[in-house]
Amino acid sequence: MATTTAVPPAPPRRVNRIGLEQAAYKGNKSTLCAGCGHNAISERIIEAFYEMGVEPHRVIKLSGIGCSSKSPAYFMRTSHGFNAVHGRMPSVATGAMLANRHLIAIGVSGDGDTASIGIGQFVHLMRRNLPIIYIIEDNGCYGLTKGQFSATADIGSVLKTGVVNDLPPIDTCALAIQLGATYVARSFSGDKRQLLALLEGAIAHRGTAMLDVISPCVTFNDHEGSTKSYSYVKDHDEPLGDLSFVPFFEDITVDYDPGTTKEITLHDGSRLLLKKLGEDYDPTNKVEALRVLTESHERGEVVTGLFYVNTQRPDFLQLMNLVDEPLATLPESRVRPPQAALDEVMESLR
């Protein structure tokens, strides 16, 4: 054919503030079940890091064991990743951040990985306020071993096999707030807008950002009688407010009526805007946060949103009084004291 057709103009290449396309933040193809909430969370992570213009080489992705913990392979392919042992990702993350304080850590765990086998390391991570975004992909069950209850399953929730859970759930958000985490939220894998704003806020925050994201297991826990199914969470989701995020590099003024919106400035200058839906909520008040969580359990609601934020508490790396450079790559001259030091010690031992 000799006809010439006009080449349609290529759509403008969309890049973020450091000149990367969103594709640069993608990972390998997911091997999780189609419709798994975890895949939606991976998508939001990709979007958040892209929108914030984070350099992928500065990011470390960490996880424990389970379906959730496979997911770091499905976002940010070029970043370093570490799939550790069951329930013990927090310690690996802590070590890595001590070795190189300039890294940005994102840890992905599950409700089994965090609330049962890993509860010990989880509480100490929260207590240390290590700079990390810690996500629990929470489906109330052990997916990879075919659907046993986890410790976040609600009382009365029913397994496919008919087994009823009769133990109270561990509320990881309440625990995290009580123990010292400085950015604590709950969200739903199906709520794109809220989850993205919370993730972007977590990137802007410095300290432990703990996000419990209800993420239904389509294969083992999405049936009638489950309190972690898509339909149950949609029906019972009570957002604390309408959350939006304004990154530090966008010079946007947002108009709102006084008294309707609470504004929180995060460490890098980004802002979170919490527009009130019902009652007044102050996410800087720890007691208030714990009250709201306790009452929502009693009402059988799934309250979502940012429960607590504290931009004042120093993070763990600040407490360590570390030199500015990464410890990992300090040259020999900085880490091996001079001969005079050894001589002094030897003299004291004579």
Binding site: N28, E55, P56, H57, R58, I60, L62, P72, A73, R77, T78, S79, H80, G81, F82, N83, A84, V85, R88, P90, S91, V92, A93, T94, G95, A96, M97, L98, A99, N100, H102, L103, G120, Q121, H124, M320, N321, L322, V323, D324, P326, L327, A328, T329, L330, E332, R334, V335, R336, P337, Q339, A341, L342, V345, M346, L349, R350
Partner: protein
């Protein structure tokens, strides 16, 4: 066996019937929490300052105050510093144990004791030195509350007088012990003098033991193995330490903290070139080390047997994901809680193959404080070169007791950081395969998180993976990877410190040992020669994997006695895993496992018995 020894001693005694000079072991029996450790260290140090080779062993309970504790000081003109089985001089301060303490003594053994204990009721064949401690301490220490702590200094003065320890050296040692606490030092020295004066006036010398100045400790230092290891870690450039308190390893981390605070704070910024974290448990301690090692730091932890058991899972991850880590195991008596304040070499076998699946880990066996220092540096180099967890197998005897040593040399070898690719390297190479055996030594190249190159990232994992670190369950990929790890093990065999072999003529018998058994073995070699005219060869293994020299040594001897401090002959079992069957038939064992440091007499007697010499 024992008969031979007694005969020999008697011969010596006849030659010098009244004086045994610079060759005795003093046992002090006290109650813990009574300040006796200070008194004992003052005695130890004063003897050391007199130029006499000396060693001290603290046999203490797992308790803070109120239970029996013993301290043994051995002075030896010949330089033997292993524990001596026999007690030549007793200081009995503990009413709870006094009867037991005096029962085992040989006739004519001198005993210094609190007169209230009335040692004469138990034995009438000892040299008795009763001391009225309460009467002596009251005028020296008007504050009744302090008396309990000062009281034990009195026996220092008594012993100094009876044995001829120079009081100027006692005072110097005491002031060193109390450092800047001048008032406490003054008070304690008054108690020493009170004891000395009492002995001078009331206790005529009736035993044959004397200490006299010699010149065998000049220039030497006294240090505990854990402090020596801490120094080694600091000069190895350690940057991340995570630990969980456990006897007998805590003092390693704690001493390291004090050294690092002094010598590793940046002089300009006053900021730390290190991070030390007390973890929530041993699992987290090693988890942090693995995370830090993956991110490029020189990272370590120190623990003891129960901690090693808890770390098993992470050690397997370190082996399979190939992450450098240094783990000090200050071995104590197991199984389970066991005897937490007593020494052992009981973790050798379980640590060598710690974790599930096919795993093997390099072990280093320091036998001296000097090796605690040097092997700490070796361990970090090996961990980074081999990209794997490396264990330093110390023990309570080495770690928590004071040992004489030549001063440690300043390291001349630069740090060996292993195969790490920078962004610049990646630019030249265009990329890399994390787990490919490019150099044929089984060791891949790694990148550190934070490396600014799009090809730098890889996914470390404990699940099956291919050369690119991508998840794989394929049989051939798994086998290829495991075979490469086996190849890396052969590289480790070449890199770890080789054995020290003495008396290589061959024939006859050989002795093979590791770690602190060394001190009993060298003394036993001397006993075997003097008592039986046998010159045995000696192979001291310093690391696992063993190299060919070890097998050669075993082949050169008709039989080789593996001397070790555990019940089941763990070092021997490890040798059997690697040796040819005809060689393993030559192995015998001498096993010592009562929680006390091994002594030469036990080794010599066991070999003599097995050889049928008596």
């Amino acid at each position: 066996m024992g008969v031979t020894e007694v005969t020999l001693s008697e011969v010596e005694n006849q030659a010098a019937p009244h004086r045994v000079v610079n060759d005795l072991s003093i046992q002090v029996a006290t109650v813990n929490g009574s300040g006796s450790q200070s008194s004992n260290l003052v005695l130890l140090r004063a003897i050391f300052q007199m130029g006499i080779p000396v060693s001290g062993k603290n046999l203490f309970p797992s308790n803070i105050a109120g239970l029996p504790t013993w301290f043994t000081i051995r002075a030896s003109k010949d330089g033997w510093i292993a524990r001596r089985k026999e007690i030549d001089f007793l200081v009995a301060m503990n009413p709870e144990t006094v009867e037991e303490d005096v029962q085992t003594l040989a006739p004519q053994t001198p005993v210094v004791y609190d007169e209230k204990l009335d040692v004469g009721r138990f034995r009438n064949d000892l040299v008795l030195y009763p001391v009225p401690f309460d009467q002596l301490v009251a005028p020296v220490c008007p504050d009744a509350k302090l008396r309990k702590l000062v009281r034990n200094m009195i026996y220092v003065g008594v012993v100094a007088k009876l044995l001829g320890i120079d009081m100027a050296e006692v005072e110097k040692a005491l002031r060193k012990q109390f450092q800047k606490k001048v008032k406490a030092a003054d008070l304690n020295f008054k108690a020493v003098v009170a004891g000395y004066d009492f002995a001078d006036q009331h206790l005529p010398k009736a035993d044959r033991f004397w200490l006299e100045r010699m010149n065998a400790t000049q220039g030497k230092i006294l240090i505990e193995g854990n402090a020596a290891a801490a120094l080694g870690c600091m000069f190895a450039g350690v940057t991340v330490v995570s630990w969980y308190p456990i006897t007998p390893s805590s003092s390693l981390a704690e001493t390291l903290i004090s050294y690092m605070k002094r010598y590793r704070i940046d002089p300009e910024t006053k900021k730390a070139t290190f991070a030390i974290v007390q973890a929530e448990d041993e699992l987290a301690a090693l988890g942090m080390v693995i995370g830090a090692g993956w991110a490029g730091a020189r990272a370590m932890t120190s623990t003891a047997g129960p901690g090693i058991s808890l770390m098993a899972e992470f050690v397997g991850l370190g082996y399979y994901a190939e992450v450098p880590a240094v783990i000090f195991d200050i071995q104590r008596v197991g199984p389970s809680t066991g005897l937490p304040t007593r020494t052992s070499q009981g973790d050798i076998l379980s640590t060598a193959v710690l974790s599930h699946g096919d795993t093997k880990h390099p072990l280093l066996f320091p036998s001296s404080v000097g090796e605690c220092y040097s092997m700490a540096m070796d361990a970090f180099d090996l961990a980074e070169e081999l990209q794997t967890p490396v264990f330093v197998m110390s023990d309570l005897d080495l770690g928590m007791n004071y040992w004489m040593s030549d001063p440690f040399p300043y390291p001349t070898r630069p740090l060996r950081r292993g195969k790490v690719l920078t962004a610049e390297d990646l630019k030249q190479r265009g990329g890399f395969l994390r787990y490919a055996d490019v150099d044929g030594d089984g060791i891949g190249y790694r990148t550190l998180p934070g490396t600014n190159h799009p090809a730098a990232g890889y996914f470390a994992r404990g699940s099956g993976h291919d050369e690119r670190a991508i998840y794989s369950e394929k049989p051939d990929v798994y086998v290829r990877n495991m075979d490469r790890l086996a190849r890396k093990w052969e590289t480790a065999r070449r890199l770890v410190p080789g054995p020290v072999i003495e008396g290589g003529a061959g024939g006859g018998i050989g002795i093979l040992a590791c770690g602190t058994s060394h001190w009993a073995v060298i003394e036993s070699l001397d006993q075997l020669k003097r008592e039986y005219g046998v010159e045995a060869g000696y192979c001291r293994v310093r690391a696992y994997p063993f190299n060919d020299q070890v097998a050669d040594f075993i082949r050169r001897h008709v039989s080789t006695y593996v001397v070790e401090q555990n019940r089941d002959g763990q070092l021997c079992s490890l040798l059997k895993l690697e040796l040819d069957p005809e060689d393993t038939a030559r192995l015998r064992t001498v096993r010592h496992y009562n929680g006390l440091p091994i002594d030469a007499r036990s080794v010599t007697d066991s070999i003599a018995q097995q050889e049928g010499w008596n």
